[in-house]
């Protein structure tokens, strides 16, 4: 509408007699050009990204119907849904999904608890606050690969400082094989991820706390609330939107956890830290069972998408 009146105004300004046919045609052409403008700008990116990723996804779907093994000579053989049938009965796949959650859930819980605690601690004005926050958030931008490498050095059973600190504190030699023992491998991964991403949670919660007005606390204190009750009854509910976002972002990343596993344990010892991403990677790119890995990737993708859709729907209902 806006464009049309603009072009009519232009024709008038040019002093043309308002001969409608040509004026209309002019207006039409201009309007169409205006309507198409966004596509000139968005077009290249849309084509590149969408064609790229949709093509990739469909290609993965296509090869998931084939017995496609790279190291075996001969053309891939069409096998229909056989890969999917195999995946659904593959106990290792379901174990890997379970193991993913045994790492992701504790890590997420600890990151939220510590992130909240840190944010509450630092949510006051004190000298050096900006520097303190800058230093605390440094791990966040470090790559998972570097974080995993750093913690491998720290957790080294004999030469690493973690066991050394534990020995000094307990007064007796501690030689925990963090990454080589079945009991400690998962806690070690969780510890690394907590170090890596707790500051991220803290930053988000701090941003959320900053948007809570002091008046609310003032009013609550007049009503006689204090300390713990203030936190539970006022701060937490007001932080809910932030916590929802945190759980979503961290949850997504944690269920896909791969880099730390690849760097720190390669799924071991045994298969105790073999997460679902690592299991699929191993099938596809170590054993080169491409068709089967693609089928598993699709199953897991659909599983995650449904899971997060329920999560988002639930949150939407809760927040109303």
């Amino acid at each position: 509408m806006g464009q049309r009146s603009e072009s009519v105004r232009l024709t008038a300004a040019e002093g043309r007699p308002s001969v409608w046919p040509s004026g209309q045609a002019y207006a039409k052409g201009k309007a169409r050009r205006r309507r198409l403008t966004p596509f000139y700008f968005a077009g290249p990116a849309v084509i590149f990204v969408f064609v790229g990723s949709i093509f990739m996804a469909l290609y993965a779907l296509y090869i998931s119907f084939f017995d496609y093994q790279l190291q075996r000579p001969g053309a891939p053989r069409f096998v229909g849904l056989k890969n999917y049938a195999e995946a659904f009965t593959d106990a290792k796949l379901w174990t890997s999904i379970w193991q993913t959650f045994t790492i992701a859930v504790p890590a997420l819980a600890l990151e939220i608890v510590f992130g909240l605690a840190l944010a509450m601690l630092l949510n006051r004005s004190f000298r050096g606050r900006a520097i303190a926050i800058s230093l605390i958030v440094t791990p966040v931008m470090v790559s998972s690969a570097a974080a995993g490498m750093a913690w491998r050095l720290l957790l080294e059973p004999r030469y690493g400082p973690v066991n050394d600190i534990l020995s000094r504190l307990s007064g007796q030699p501690v030689q925990i094989g963090w990454l080589s023992s079945v009991e400690w491998a998962r806690p070690a991964i969780v510890l690394t991820d907590v170090w890596h991403m707790t500051p991220f949670v803290m930053l988000l919660v701090l941003a959320g706390l900053g948007s809570i007005s002091d008046d609310i606390y003032g009013a609550a204190k007049i009503d006689g609330a204090s300390g713990w009750r203030l936190f539970v009854d006022i701060t937490l509910p007001l932080l809910k939107p932030i916590l929802v976002l945190v759980i979503l972002l961290r949850g997504i990343d944690l269920v896909r956890i791969f880099d730390l596993i690849f760097i720190m344990t390669k799924g071991g010892p045994g298969t105790i830290t073999k997460t679902v991403s690592y299991y699929i990677y191993e099938n596809g790119l170590s054993f080169f069972r491409i068709g089967y890995a693609s089928a598993m990737a699709w199953i897991v993708a659909i599983f995650f998408i449904i899971f997060s859709k329920f999560y988002l729907d639930y949150l939407r209902k809760e927040s109303r």
Partner: protein, 296 residues
């Protein structure tokens, strides 16, 4: 109200300023600072340990109990790293691939964000697209890349890496940029266009310079996330194009080997961009890491 709160509990008092007697206040302040310093130490310690280890001689990092401060610091590992392990090639690859991807991503993402911000074209679609892309197990995306790139001989090439990364990062970059374009007052651009500038001219000469700092931060984020990526690089590179992150996986084969210090040095180098950003770009972190899901 309480029932709706997520089940999180922790035993720390709310930070309400205590207005009580002075000695107690002093003790509290000291305690507070001690706690903050302890926390900072925890988050800095791994990096410090890595850096210190890279300057230790093998005798020192293989000493029991561990020697915390090297008595005879050495640059030997750095010499080895560059001469024997050819880490320079990996660093160079990381820089080339990250920088090129940043440029390509912005070339596509800026016009996309502009179109959405100004014309509201498909704006509600973008966040959904990014979230669903993030939800997929990364392996699901990497596998077809691997196969198709094999066909087109793009494995072990810079072009292949850049195409793969750009597909990942264009929606991400566009989504953050969108916030900047939405906040930009359209009148300024309209005024330029009435004065006779074309739309592209107005965008390039008027709008983009005014948004330069925001675009620069997005560029830094894309650079660092590309630099940090492991999986895509692991699958799509070989010896000649491997990035620093892939170099890590080869450097520390077994912790009892000599290359302990080399690995530590490489990890330290790999952390440099992250530290630069955390120290100087920290105020943009929230927006970048939540993909604009939260505006400061």
């Amino acid at each position: 109200m309480t029932n709706h709160a997520p089940g999180v509990a922790y035993p720390v008092q709310l930070p309400m300023a205590p207005k009580k007697s002075t000695p107690l206040k002093v003790i509290k302040t000291i305690g507070f600072y001690a706690l903050v310093i302890l926390i900072i130490a925890f988050f800095l310690f791994p990096t410090l340990w890595v850096v210190v280890t890279s300057f230790k001689l093998p005798v020192e990092y293989f000493s029991i109990p561990p020697r915390w401060i090297p008595e005879a610091p050495t640059l030997d590992h750095y010499r080895k790293m560059f001469v024997d392990y050819k880490v320079a090639g990996a660093i160079q690859n990381s820089i080339i691939i990250s920088a090129a991807n940043t440029i390509v991503t912005l070339l596509f993402a800026v016009p996309l964000a502009y179109a959405i911000g100004r014309y509201r074209a498909g704006g509600s679609f973008l966040p959904g697209w990014i979230i669903s892309q993030r939800m997929l197990p990364p392996v699901a995306i990497v596998l077809p890349f691997f196969l198709i790139f094999r066909q087109f001989k793009l494995i072990n090439t810079y072009q292949g890496m850049i195409i793969a990364y750009a597909i990942f990062f264009i929606p991400f970059a566009a989504w953050i940029l969108l916030g900047f374009f939405e906040d930009f007052p359209q009148d300024i651009q309209d005024a330029a266009m009435i004065d006779g500038a074309s739309e592209v001219g107005a965008l390039v000469r008027i709008v983009l310079p005014l948004l330069a700092s925001g675009i620069f931060v997005v560029a830094l984020l894309v650079f660092i996330f590309t630099w940090n990526d492991l999986l895509i690089a692991l699958v799509l590179t070989r010896q000649e194009t491997r990035t620093l992150m892939v170099f890590f996986t080869a450097a520390l084969v077994s912790p009892t080997q000599e290359d302990f210090g080399v690995a530590a040095g490489a990890v330290g180098i790999g952390m440099i961009p992250a530290y630069l950003f955390a120290l100087f770009g920290q105020r943009y972190l929230v927006r970048g890491l939540t993909m604009g899901g939260l505006k400061e």
